[in-house]
């Protein structure tokens, strides 16, 4: 079980509880706006892009090659960008805060 805080671009906060899966799924299943997840988590589209708060960057699982390539070319990418479909939900991320970009490109 992990508590995840999503902060929309307009500042609105949503706190959800997630049990396994990945952070994108936690957002989509709880109808958090701004995470599109067009490919349903297949790492094929880069529309689940989020900014992980600095304090949590080293708590999430490391970035894989495919994700890294996708991130390189996504919109509005910054050093704390990740594709949320590749971020596993586990105890290590209990309390994590992620911010949602203004648009998913």
């Amino acid at each position: 079980m992990a508590k995840i805080t999503f902060i929309e671009h307009n500042g609105k906060e949503h706190i959800v509880d997630a049990n396994g899966g990945n952070i994108m799924e936690a957002a989509v299943k709880n109808n958090i706006p701004g995470i599109d997840a067009d490919c349903g988590g297949a790492c094929a589209c880069a529309t689940c892009h989020v900014y992980v708060d600095d304090a949590w960057l080293d708590k999430v699982n490391p970035v894989g090659t495919m994700e890294e390539s996708m991130l390189d070319f996504a919109e509005g990418v910054s050093p704390n960008s990740r594709l949320s479909c590749q971020l596993a939900v586990n105890e290590a991320v209990d309390g994590i805060v992620v911010r949602i970009p203004a648009s998913q490109g």
Binding site: N31, D38, G41, A42, A46, M66
Partner: protein, 435 residues
């Protein structure tokens, strides 16, 4: 004059469905369907501020879910049903969406703006969204009712196929489209002997250029799949259960289980019966609106004009379902049309991720960027003027994402520029000329 300006600057869009006289217009929306397009339309309506009644009518008996994993991760058991579903179980109710998973619409009364459902209920609508999707094309030949002959579109069918695969040593797959090849990859992973029968001269004939077809034929062969092209199927043999597939030339291929993947048919009948114009699916305009101004059609059931390619077609893809769901919602709410994406597709087979942007019909040049032998390359499909019509990216997400921009801009690049990997992919848009 100032007052008039001020009035039109009030966020009119936020006052959903209220006209200049303050009367509520759209209070009742019915969505026929409960799949990808239906879910997107519902999401976009609620996120866009629509607070009126919203009913979704489905026929699969379970809450809306995504189909792509049915031939991939779900078939392989690496994800379960819960992860397939779009929303958590209570999230439809929390959003005030009346989701009826076992009460499909059976008729539309356009004159009185009512929908009749299977249970006998009659629902009124101000706006109607038809998102009925498509159904599998069944193979019309002898023995096609034998047990063990599977199709794959729904969760139930994926479960049946999974069970059959677990009890089989060999599978024959009829049809080498995406579904057929994805199942071939999964079946090989499960240790079955796999034969793929394809009527066309190459695999993925409808959806990919010859160079990509060749790549996939080699890929599957290297994994031990037997691909037989230029082969038709004339029937199935067996007692009560299928035992062999009979080819058009008389040869018989032994099979413990069969999967048929030969395309889909749009579920447009309910619209046609109501007098809505349908030509190969339900005809819609650039806002996903049908010939009836209060009715929209989204996803596989519709055909649309794709401006980027000046073509009207059914766009069978998740992208299309999502985009049209957003278009319909925006139009209903009187909001700006969302920015359109290029058509895009993907397929996962073994450790190969194929991502496609654009439509390659009309391309006469197919330029490779990268290394085919290393399974990491992209094929750029150009017309005679060097305009990039489509890009097939194999394990090359950079080329896919940059490619989307190039395709959307109708950009032109020379074959020399495309194949020159010393030019970073990121730089390609800067070099491109516009069409």
């Amino acid at each position: 004059m100032y007052f008039a300006t001020f009035v039109t600057c009030i966020p009119f869009k936020q006052i959903i469905g209220v006209n200049k006289n303050g009367q509520n217009m759209t209070q009742n929306i019915v969505i026929i369907g409960a799949g990808q397009a239906a879910t997107q339309a519902a999401n976009s309506l609620r996120q866009g501020g629509y607070n009126g009644r919203l009913v979704m009518l489905g026929d699969e008996g379970i809450a809306p879910y995504q189909r792509p994993p049915l031939s991939k991760a779900y078939l392989m058991d690496t994800i379960d049903l819960e992860r397939l579903q779009f929303r958590g179980p209570d999230q439809w109710e929390k959003d005030n969406i009346e989701l009826r998973v076992n009460d499909p619409a059976i008729a539309i009364d356009r004159e009185n703006k009512k929908v009749s459902t299977k249970s006998g209920e009659v629902l009124s609508y101000d706006k109607l969204i038809i998102a009925t999707g498509s159904r599998v094309r069944e193979i019309p030949c002898e023995g096609n009712q034998l047990r063990g002959i599977n199709y794959l579109r729904t969760l139930g069918q994926s479960d049946d196929l999974k069970t059959d695969l677990a009890n089989a040593k060999s599978i024959v797959i009829v049809g080498a489209g995406y579904v057929g090849l994805e199942v071939a990859a999964i079946a090989r992973k499960k240790g079955l002997e796999v034969t793929v029968i394809e009527a066309a001269p190459r695999v993925l004939a409808r959806v990919a250029a010859p160079i990509i077809s060749q790549f996939y034929e080699n890929l599957h062969a290297s994994h031990g799949v037997n691909i037989m092209t230029n082969c038709g199927v004339s029937g199935f043999k067996g007692d009560t259960k299928v035992e062999a597939v009979v080819l058009s030339d008389g040869r018989e291929i032994k099979a413990d289980v069969v999967l048929v993947g030969i395309g889909i048919i749009p579920n447009s009948e309910i619209a046609a019966e109501a007098g809505i114009i349908c030509n190969n699916g339900i005809d819609v305009d650039e806002n996903a609106r049908t010939s009836d101004e209060n009715i929209y059609a989204c996803g596989d059931c519709s055909n649309r004009y794709v401006e980027l390619f000046d073509v009207r077609m059914r766009l069978e893809s998740v992208h299309n379902a999502i985009e049209q769901g957003k278009l319909a919602a925006a139009n209903i709410l009187g909001q700006d049309q969302p920015k359109l994406d290029t058509p895009w597709f993907w397929s996962d087979q073994y450790d190969i991720k194929l991502q496609i942007t654009g439509l390659f019909n009309g391309a006469i040049q197919h330029i490779v960027r990268g290394n085919i032998d290393e399974n990491k390359f992209a094929v750029f499909h150009l017309d005679a003027q060097n305009r990039i019509l489509a890009i097939d990216a194999i394990n090359s997400p950079a080329e896919f994402l940059v490619g989307k921009k190039l395709v959307a801009a109708k950009a032109k690049l020379s074959p020399e520029q495309i194949s020159d990997v010393s030019i970073p992919t990121k730089e390609l848009p800067n070099l491109a000329a516009s069409a």
